[in-house]
Every structure is written in structure tokens, then in C-alpha cells.
């Protein structure tokens, strides 16, 4: 494969091309240096738009450092469900000069700039942050409230909305924050009014939070993880809420211990999950293979970032699919699902837990930085109910055999403490009782016992929407994508009249569902955030021909502007 033949991301196209597409939209960029609280200020802006009835997607961009460096968030509100941000922005909230410098290509003639007048010289709405804070005897940390107050007035957002959002989402010092915001609100002018929509506010969650909630819904007892971006916010979220959800959260010495501890929980009958990114997952692979051999259920959340090796810790990628497909020595069944947004994360994380336990296998939730740390709107009522799964128990009438042969390959479960059961699990090849064996016929029989579960899993998972079709369902040109590129692909497909085919289940490969989804397609274009087109490879292994590959591998997610132009050129 020649790399030069691959389309990489193109220069930014002029906003005029897509202005019509964003008629129902509002896009706000807030930028400053690391440590300025950009993420929480961005969340507050997102809640303001949420309360005006917009669907939200928030993209947070930050380098891998604690203080200094440029951080920014783009908050997009739309009347449609979204999962991506266009290049242009309608409002810029600049906490420093660098924000204005770095994002010039995003301005349109209508872009309104709201800025901290102490730090930035610009035209637009200057907020005298220092003077406001001094007048109200407020600490520096409340400076962002002044800027947001100024933004709200500039965007014509009624004060009562601002007050309601502040009261609901600022944990400390609410009264003083409101006084500060109100002062700035009084000083700014309304330049461009952002209208209300008819939609009620919805819940805003990051992908990692949604994965955590899905796992809790799936009966999670323990979450075990060693910090690694972009999975860490899942550890932080579950640690913060562990008491409310009644779960144990453990941060052990390394990812090797993480995986093995999780298997200790599973052996004892407790539902466990682990979370990491590619580098941490490298250390988990020996434990993963043990889960396969010992038939211990466990859910692994792997949130991808740019590799190889340390790569770009805080940027995105979809380059670990084949690693996850093949990780761990030997052969054993596994489930891999890649949700595309928050709603799917809630739904599929619960399913992953259920399937891990039903089939006594490792199950993966494959995410990436874009999904894990992106914030999306979700209507909890719209998340489909996940059917409960029954687990076979031990009747107690015959001696307990941990690996008892059954037609499905699924052996009844019992856990230590169970009266009269001797429960032996083993990393060596073993017999039905779990005792080590090297006897050829028995090894063959037990290998088949494990692998027949893959057939069952493959059949079972077909009862779920493992391949989605969106856009124009009978269009002859289709985008093939997976995971977090759902948002960007859906958006350009609706503009260009394309079909979007997206496997959520990546293993066992949902060939039947995919073939159905692909019927009538004359041109199949894969869109992936990696350099080797890993989904295309997987599809071609199953006899599905991919015509074109659109790839991005610089750590940044696809932007609709660029993707639209690239795909349009391919269609010509």
C-alpha cells in the first residue's frame, strides 16, 4: 500500500460552502490557557444552549500538560442530533490573545468575539474581568462567569435562563458567581440573538460517563483501572459516584494488576470492568488471554488515542481495532462493540456486560478520545431497554464441574462459598473439573467447548442492532464507518444524499447484518481515523469490497467541512 495514494485531510474549505447546512446551528468556541477552566466553562455554555433547546456536541481540545498551553472547547448546538463540530464558529470567547490568533480560520464575517479585556485587544464585546472581580470582591476563579455572562447577553439569552443554568450547574459560590455574571451581562450588548427551540433540555453526558452508567445498569460491582488518558475520566466519574451506585472502584499498581484483580472479582461472582487506553491495554493482554482460557467474564473499556506508543495522549485515533481483535495469545471468543455516541454507549455498555456474563468471555467497549471526552445530548427515555439475560446456575445434584460440557459450551456458574462446590479455574489447559491436563483428546474437546460459545454469541448478538444504516438508506454510494465518526458521517451523508453503514458490533463480525445493509451499494467509501483502514481490512477479509478509503491520522477528528469536500470529489 502506498501512503501517497491515500487522501489525507485537506486544507480548510471556505465556510460559505456549508453555511446553509448549519442554518439551525449555533457554534461557540471558548479558548484560553491550560488551567483556565476551559472544560468547565465550556460545559456551562453547553448547558446554556441545552436550556435553549439545542442538541449539544462539545469537543474539548487540550495538549498533554497541566498549566499553560492552549486549551479550547467548541460547543455546538443544533436542532438535529449531532456528534461533530464544523470548522466555523459563531461566537468566540477569548480568555487570552492566543485564542484569537489560533482560530482565525474559523471566523466568518458574522463571528462575534467576546473577550477578556484585560488579556486581549480586539473588536467585539470586551469584558473588564479584573474590574468586575475587584468591584465584587470575587476571586479570580470567577472570571469565567463574567465572560459567560457577557456571552449570554451578546447572544440575547434571557437572564433567567442564565440564572437557572448557573444555579443548577455551579457547585460552589453560586450567589457571587451570579453577581459577577450579571455585571458583565449588564455591560455587554446583544449582537446576535440565539433563539429558543421547542425542545426541552436533555441530559448532557460525556461518552465515558455514558459508558460508566451503562456498566452500572448492567450490574457492575467493581471498576478497576489505572489512569490513562482518555479513559481516566471514566475512573474519576465512577470513583466520585461509587457510593451512590454501590460499586467498588480500585486503582491498583498497574494495568497488569488491574486485569488480574478484575478476574478475581469475576471468579467470586462479582461483575467487574476495567478501563484503559492502548498502552495500558498492552499490559492487560496476558490477563485477557487468561480470561479466555479460564472462561472468566470481564468488560474492558479501551479508549483509543493517537499511537503508536505514547503517541498523542490527549488526541484521538481509531487505530487499535486490529490490536483488540487479536490481542492475547491463543484462540478464544470475545465481543467487541464500538458505540458511536452517548446514547449508544449507555445501551451497548449494558449489553457488553450481559454478554460477558452469559458467555463467560471478555467483552470490549472500544471508544476513542472523541467519544470518551466529548459531551453529547441524550434523552434517557430514548435509550432502548436492554433485555435481561439469564445465567445458568448449578443444580447441586452432581459434583460441581466448573467447565462442565454442554451443547452451548456454557458451563453453569458457582462461586466460592457455595456449599459443597469445589470451584477450580485454571490458566493451563484443563479438564471439566478445572484440573490441568495435557491429554490430547481432552485438550481438543475443551478447545471446541470454548469456541462453540463464539457461535452462540454470534447468533445471540444478531438480536441487537449491531449494524446501523442511516442517511439515505437506499443510496448507491455509502460511507462505511465505526465508532465516533458516526456524527460526522451522518451529517455529510444527509447533505450529499449518501447512505451510512456502521457496524457497532465489530466481533463476532456481523456479516449477515452488514451484507443486508450493503445491498444495492455501488460505491463503498470507508471513513476511518487511522492510516491502514482497519475496518476496510476487516470487511475485505469477509469478502466485502471497499472502493475508497478516506483516512485521517493526525490525532484530530474529521471535520465535516473537509470530509464533505473529499467525499464530493470522490463522487464526481
Amino acid at each position: 500500500m502506498s501512503l501517497t495514494s491515500m487522501p489525507t485531510y485537506l486544507p480548510v474549505r471556505k465556510y460559505q460552502n456549508i453555511r446553509k447546512a448549519c442554518m439551525n446551528d449555533i457554534s461557540v468556541l471558548i479558548g484560553g490557557k491550560a488551567g483556565d477552566g476551559i472544560n468547565s466553562a465550556g460545559s456551562l455554555v453547553a448547558q446554556l444552549l441545552n436550556h435553549l433547546g439545542y442538541s449539544i456536541y462539545l469537543y474539548f481540545d487540550y495538549p498533554s500538560l497541566i498549566r499553560g498551553g492552549h486549551n479550547f472547547a467548541i460547543i455546538r448546538g443544533s436542532k438535529n442530533n449531532i456528534g461533530t463540530c464544523w470548522n466555523h464558529v459563531d461566537f468566540v470567547l477569548a480568555l487570552n490573545e492566543e485564542t484569537l490568533e489560533q482560530h482565525k480560520e474559523r471566523y466568518t464575517p458574522d463571528t462575534v468575539i467576546i473577550f477578556n479585556a484585560d488579556q486581549v485587544k480586539s473588536t467585539g464585546q470586551g469584558i473588564p474581568v479584573t474590574a468586575i472581580l475587584a468591584a465584587e470582591h470575587a476571586p479570580a476563579i470567577m472570571g469565567n462567569s463574567a465572560v459567560i455572562g457577557g456571552f449570554a447577553k451578546t447572544a440575547g439569552i434571557p437572564w433567567d435562563s442564565v440564572e437557572a443554568v448557573f444555579r443548577a450547574h455551579i457547585p460552589k459560590g453560586i450567589d457571587l458567581n451570579l453577581i459577577v455574571a450579571r455585571r458583565a451581562y449588564g455591560l455587554a450588548e446583544t449582537v446576535r440573538t440565539v433563539g429558543k427551540t421547542a425542545q426541552p433540555p436533555r441530559a448532557l453526558l460525556t461518552g465515558n460517563e455514558a459508558i460508566g452508567l451503562g456498566l452500572v445498569k448492567g450490574g457492575l460491582d467493581a471498576y478497576i483501572s489505572y489512569p490513562m488518558t482518555p479513559s481516566s475520566s471514566l475512573l474519576h466519574f465512577l470513583a466520585e459516584y461509587h457510593d451512590k451506585f454501590g460499586i467498588m472502584v480500585v486503582h491498583p499498581e498497574n494495568e497488569i494488576a488491574v486485569m488480574l484483580m478484575a478476574l478475581g472479582f469475576a471468579y467470586s461472582g462479582k461483575r467487574s470492568a476495567v478501563g484503559t487506553s492502548g498502552g495500558g491495554f498492552c499490559l492487560m493482554t496476558e490477563g485477557l488471554s487468561l480470561a479466555g482460557m479460564a472462561e472468566l467474564p470481564v468488560v474492558l473499556v479501551v479508549s483509543q488515542r493517537t499511537g503508536p506508543s505514547t503517541g498523542l495522549p490527549t488526541y484521538t485515533a481509531q487505530s487499535d481495532l486490529h490490536f483488540i481483535l487479536h490481542a492475547g495469545q491463543g484462540e478464544y471468543p470475545r465481543l467487541i462493540v464500538a458505540p458511536g455516541d452517548v446514547q449508544e454507549s449507555l445501551y451497548w455498555s449494558e449489553i457488553a456486560m450481559n454478554m460477558a456474563w452469559k458467555f463467560q468471555i471478555p467483552a470490549f467497549i472500544l471508544a476513542d478520545k472523541t467519544l470518551s471526552e466529548g459531551t453529547y445530548s441524550v434523552d434517557p427515555e430514548a435509550v432502548p431497554e436492554v433485555p435481561e439475560v439469564e445465567l445458568p446456575g448449578w443444580a447441586g445434584t452432581t459434583p460441581y464441574l466448573r467447565y462442565a460440557a454442554t451443547p452451548s459450551g456454557i458451563s453453569p456458574l458457582a462461586f466460592p462459598g457455595k456449599k459443597d462446590a469445589v470451584i477450580k479455574v485454571n490458566s493451563y489447559a484443563h479438564d471439566e473439573a478445572g484440573i490441568t491436563t495435557e491429554e490430547a483428546a481432552l485438550v481438543g474437546q475443551m478447545t471446541r467447548k470454548r469456541m462453540v460459545k463464539e457461535t452462540g454469541l454470534s447468533e445471540e448478538i444478531q438480536g441487537y442492532p449491531g449494524v446501523t444504516v442511516s442517511g439515505v438508506p437506499d443510496a448507491p454510494t455509502a460511507l462505511l464507518c465505526w465508532g465516533s465518526t458516526k456524527g460526522v458521517c451522518n451529517e455529510i451523508a444527509s447533505l450529499l444524499g449518501l447512505r451510512v453503514i456502521r457496524p457497532v458490533v465489530l466481533f463476532p463480525f456481523p456479516l449477515t447484518q452488514l451484507k443486508k445493509a450493503i445491498a444495492g451499494v455501488r460505491k463503498l467509501i470507508v471513513v476511518e481515523e487511522n492510516v491502514t483502514a482497519q475496518l476496510a481490512m476487516l470487511a475485505e477479509q469477509h469478502g466485502i469490497h471497499v472502493d475508497e478509503r478516506v483516512l485521517r491520522y493526525d490525532g484530530r477528528p474529521f471535520v465535516p467541512d473537509e470530509l464533505l469536500v473529499t467525499i464530493k470529489e470522490m463522487m464526481a
Binding site: 441530559a203 452508567l213 467493581a222 451512590k244 454501590g246 480500585v250 478475581g264
Partner: protein, 283 residues
């Protein structure tokens, strides 16, 4: 289960004269006495690593998790956290817990997780046919170091003292009554119990003649005295020619990891309400 046969029918493949027989026999007696005292063996779990020692998981007819090389301790930690009512015993080797899985040993001691770790310390890799381990003496000639090792052994007792273990003992397979008492003491101890067991490898490091004249039982030593425990632990550093003390070097009571981490039981309805509340919070 009462009156169970504590040894499985699995064919034993340890070499004749292997020190592992003594440890297995000791554990068997402890288990049988436990059952006779009316304590069910259903609540006991044995976790082993990989190596000659680990075959004990196949040989003892109790709940067992035959884990990976070096990884028995994190598995045991997970089991104890998941179900604190279980008695969790970890059999590991010196290659296992002093090399491949050293980090887990240190962290288990640091956490004071309530498990009992028995290190079958034969100071050689047996199953991989004779390479040096972290406790082999300087100059040990093994298959990977034919000219002799160029590194000193470390002293596991000293390491455990530094790591915060709350029960530290050393036994010897040819002193079985003492060994039994040390293991029983470890199981009875509420917290992290560490027992380094000197055992010979009949094939690759048969040093009974070295140990037997040098060993002695600690007496008049106060295991609550950390300084004195350090001094006793340093007397023999696994390399020098010195008397080898056996017994309980150190013991103290500290809050346990499993007790501090305990989570209250929650009904599904309560949990669902917590999820709904959180979603409302995010609106």
C-alpha cells in the same frame, strides 16, 4: 462440604524429595483440622502462580484459581475484595512473587489486604529447569548464568518490612511443626500475612545440608518491635554465611484494605434511582 478428601486424585509430578510435599502436607493438615473444628472448606480459596509450587492448585481439593506467573496476588486481592468472608491463601514461588510479580507483593503489603501469601522459596527456577531467582546467592551457576550470577540476592523479609506487611514470618520445609504454626498464624492474622518458606529444590538446588546446621527458631524476640524485627531480618541476607532465624519476625494490627474499601449492598431500585438522579443533575 464435610468429610471431603482434601487431596485430589491428580497424579503428583513433583520430584522425589521436593520441598513442596512438606508445604502441601502442612496445608492439608491445616485444612483437615479446620474442617474438624466445624469451619467449612467451602469458604477457603487457594490462588497459585505458575511454577512447580503452583501444581498445589491441582492437588488440593478446595476452591482454587490457578493463575499466571507472578500474578497470584492481584487475583487473590480481587477475590478478597469481592467477598471478604472468604479465607484467601496464595501459594507463590520466588520467581513468581520476587521477580515477575514483585510489584504486586509490595502493593499487597502496602495495602494490608487480608490474604496469606506463602512463598515457596527454593531460590531457583525449577519448572524451567534451573535458572537463578532473586534470592539465589551471588555467583549462582544456572542455565542462564553459566559463569555465575553477577548480582546479589535481595532479602525478602527486609523488603516486606519496608513495604508495610503486618505479619512477616520465615519457615523451613524440614521444620514442619513450626511451618504449620507460622501458616496458621498467617491465616489467623487479620491483614496481609507473608511467610517466606525455605525449601530445597531436590533437582536444581538441594541445599538441605546448608540450611540444617544454620537454622534456629526465634526466641525472646518481640514481633511487635519493628527495629528488632529489622535487625533479625538482616542477620542472614540470603547470601552471607550466618545463622538463619525461623519464626515470626514482625506482627502488628492495622486497618485492612478490604475493610476500608467495603461498599454497602444496594438494591437494584436504589441503583436505578441513583442513575435517574444523575441524569436529572445533567439536564
Amino acid at each position: 462440604m464435610t468429610g471431603r478428601e482434601v487431596i485430589t486424585g491428580t497424579q503428583n509430578t513433583w520430584c522425589p524429595g521436593c520441598g513442596n510435599f512438606s508445604i502441601q502436607h502442612t496445608l492439608k493438615n491445616i485444612l483437615m483440622e479446620r474442617e474438624q473444628a466445624g469451619q467449612s472448606l467451602d469458604d477457603v480459596v487457594l490462588v497459585s502462580g505458575i511454577g512447580c509450587h503452583a501444581k498445589i492448585a491441582d492437588y488440593l481439593n478446595i476452591n482454587s484459581f490457578y493463575a499466571l506467573h507472578g500474578r497470584s496476588i492481584p487475583v487473590a486481592t480481587g477475590i478478597k475484595l469481592a467477598n471478604p468472608r472468604l479465607t484467601v491463601i496464595c501459594c507463590t514461588g520466588d520467581g513468581d512473587s520476587y521477580a515477575e510479580g514483585l510489584d504486586h507483593l509490595i502493593f499487597a503489603a502496602k495495602r494490608n489486604i487480608d490474604i496469606t501469601v506463602i512463598v515457596h522459596n527454593n531460590r531457583v527456577y525449577g519448572l524451567t529447569t534451573g535458572q537463578y531467582t532473586p534470592t539465589s546467592p551471588l555467583g549462582f551457576k544456572g542455565k542462564s548464568t553459566p559463569s555465575g550470577t553477577a548480582e546479589y540476592p535481595f532479602n525478602p523479609l527486609e523488603l516486606m518490612l519496608a513495604s508495610g506487611a503486618t505479619y512477616i514470618a520465615r519457615g523451613y520445609t524440614k521444620k514442619m511443626e513450626l511451618l504449620k504454626n507460622l501458616i496458621l498464624g498467617g491465616i489467623g492474622h487479620r491483614g496481609f500475612a507473608f511467610i517466606d518458606v525455605l525449601q530445597i529444590c531436590a533437582t536444581f538446588f538441594p541445599v538441605a545440608d546448608y540450611y540444617s546446621p544454620r537454622i534456629y527458631e526465634l526466641s525472646g524476640h518481640d514481633p511487635a518491635d519493628f527495629e528488632s524485627a529489622c535487625k533479625k531480618a538482616r542477620e542472614w541476607d540470603y547470601n552471607n554465611d550466618a545463622p538463619i532465624a525461623l519464626g515470626t519476625f514482625f506482627r502488628r494490627t492495622l486497618a485492612r484494605f478490604d475493610e476500608k474499601m467495603a461498599v454497602r449492598e444496594m438494591l437494584p431500585e436504589e441503583r436505578n434511582k441513583a442513575i435517574r438522579d444523575l441524569l436529572l443533575e445533567r439536564m
